[in-house]
């Protein structure tokens, strides 16, 4: 009975402890609580526990600093999904920057900023390069020698494209003929397309 209790206690303590516990620590702990324990007994109990958990989902593992319970190694990959978060989404700013590089390459950051009317954050350029979709292919020889960006083969691979000509055609910018009123100017590309489609 005494032994049964020592075993239960060691088991519980190992599961509760935040750090691995050594044979010496466990023995001291038992002695402090008035239990008749020796290192030999503790070692025997640990061996027994290791055998008990052999085929279980968690196992008693001895590592440098002592013993701890941990999940079975083969399960790691599956269990990982407990912490797997949904992939984040890219911002509209990033997507537009990428689109401009794809459709207007080679292009400088200044060009992108001019078209988008806002400054492009370094973080966006860094993200696109880390993702391997965009690279610097040279400099434009103007004052400041701005870097020229282009898309990569990885970009084509990701979007399953053979080459850039396979990028989807984009709606023509709204026409600005002389007799179109001020409204036509302000319509977005999308509505412009609809208009041209509905026109006979």
């Amino acid at each position: 009975m005494q032994n049964q209790q020592i075993k239960q206690l060691i088991e519980a303590v190992l599961f509760v402890a935040e750090t691995p516990m050594s044979v010496a620590q466990l023995t001291d702990y038992l002695l402090e609580h008035g239990m008749d324990a020796t290192r030999k007994i503790v070692r025997e109990v640990l061996d027994e526990l290791q055998r008990d958990y052999q085929e279980r989902g968690v196992q008693l593992q001895e590592i440098a600093s002592g013993y701890r319970f941990q999940t079975r190694a083969e399960l790691g990959g599956i269990i990982a999904s407990l912490w797997q978060e949904k992939p984040p989404r890219y911002s509209q700013a990033l997507l537009e920057t990428l689109a401009l590089i794809a459709y207007r390459q080679p292009i400088t950051r200044g060009d992108i900023e001019e078209i988008r009317g806002v400054s492009v954050s370094s973080q966006i350029m860094k993200t696109l390069q880390e993702r391997g979709w965009v690279k610097v292919i040279g400099h434009r020889e103007v004052p400041g020698r701005p870097q020229l960006y282009a898309t990569t083969n990885e970009f084509l691979d990701y979007f399953n494209l053979k080459d850039l000509s396979e990028l989807p055609a984009i709606p023509e910018p709204p026409a600005r003929t002389a007799n179109t009123g001020p409204v036509a100017q302000e319509t977005t590309a999308e509505t412009a397309t609809e208009e041209s489609e509905s026109a006979p």
Partner: protein, 276 residues
């Protein structure tokens, strides 16, 4: 004072509790040191607790509450509390007033015409005492339940699983890219009020390729940039790309003599040579 730290254990017949500890039997006896008295008085969780304590101490029946002696004893305690300037007094005074009211109603002669149902003036108090006693029992049950962090601990095993967690990268659909592009262009249209021409993609792509080639070959022969297998259209695209690159000041085109070989080099290259 030291007593207050000893661990509580429920007695079979509790009379009253000081923070869960059974209270000594005769608090009104004068030999109790003032400190202890204060401790006891402070420990009642309210007037109901005190009242219940007084009833239980004298083994009285709640249902047939002898209101006179109880009121008297209760008032003695309240007086003690006042003397000790315990803050609890207000709630205890409300109870004192209630007891006094019940007492006076009991002293009044009952009108004979009253129905049988006419309530005993004590009925409401008795009901409250019974309910309070039930709740005290419930509180005791709760305290006796195995509690997390006191009697049991949630356990966890270590796991290397977190090493397997991959940082997920956002997905982008091709259509999103086209939409983003047309959105950016529409914005530009609104902002700049100038016409933006649709460019031949292949020209743009070819421009990238030429610059890419120039990264590895410092100079290229003009003819190297044309791939006969691409046909007439390919030649035109390459030519347009070169013109565009010159226009954008990205490359230099040099020809030593008329009809001699034309060379394409990056501006950078020219710059580097001239400064050497």
């Amino acid at each position: 004072m030291a007593e207050s730290t000893t661990s509580p254990q429920q007695q079979s017949l509790p009379l009253g509790f000081v923070r869960g500890e059974p209270v000594i039997d005769k608090p009104e006896d004068l030999y109790i040191p003032p400190d202890a008295l204060e401790l006891i008085l402070e420990s009642f969780s309210g007037p109901m607790d005190l009242l219940l304590y007084l009833i239980r101490r004298q083994k009285l029946d709640i249902v047939d509450l002898p209101i006179l002696p109880i009121t008297k004893q209760y008032m003695e305690y309240v007086e003690m509390m006042k003397e000790l300037k315990l803050e609890l007094a207000a709630d205890y005074l409300v109870m004192a007033a209630m007891l006094a009211e019940i007492k006076s109603r009991m002293l009044l002669p009952r009108p004979p015409a009253e129905e049988d149902e006419e309530a005993d003036p004590r009925a409401e108090l008795v009901r409250r005492l019974q309910e309070y006693e039930a709740i005290r029992t419930g509180a005791g049950y709760l305290d006796d339940m195995p509690q997390t962090e006191r009697d049991l601990f949630v356990v966890h095993a270590d796991t290397d699983a977190k090493d397997f967690v991959k940082q997920q990268l956002p997905d982008v659909a091709l259509a999103e890219l086209a939409v983003a592009f047309s959105h950016a262009m529409a914005q530009a249209e609104l902002q700049h009020h100038h016409q933006i021409h649709r460019e031949r993609l292949s020209t743009r792509a070819r421009m990238s390729r030429i610059i890419d080639l120039l990264q590895t070959h410092q100079r290229l022969r003009f003819a190297q940039l044309f791939e006969p297998s691409e046909g007439k259209q390919g030649v035109v695209v390459s030519f347009l790309a070169i013109l565009e690159l010159v226009k954008e000041a990205l490359v230099d085109v040099t020809q030593v003599d008329a009809f001699s070989e034309i060379h394409i080099s990056t501006r950078e290259q020219v710059y580097a040579e001239s400064t050497d």
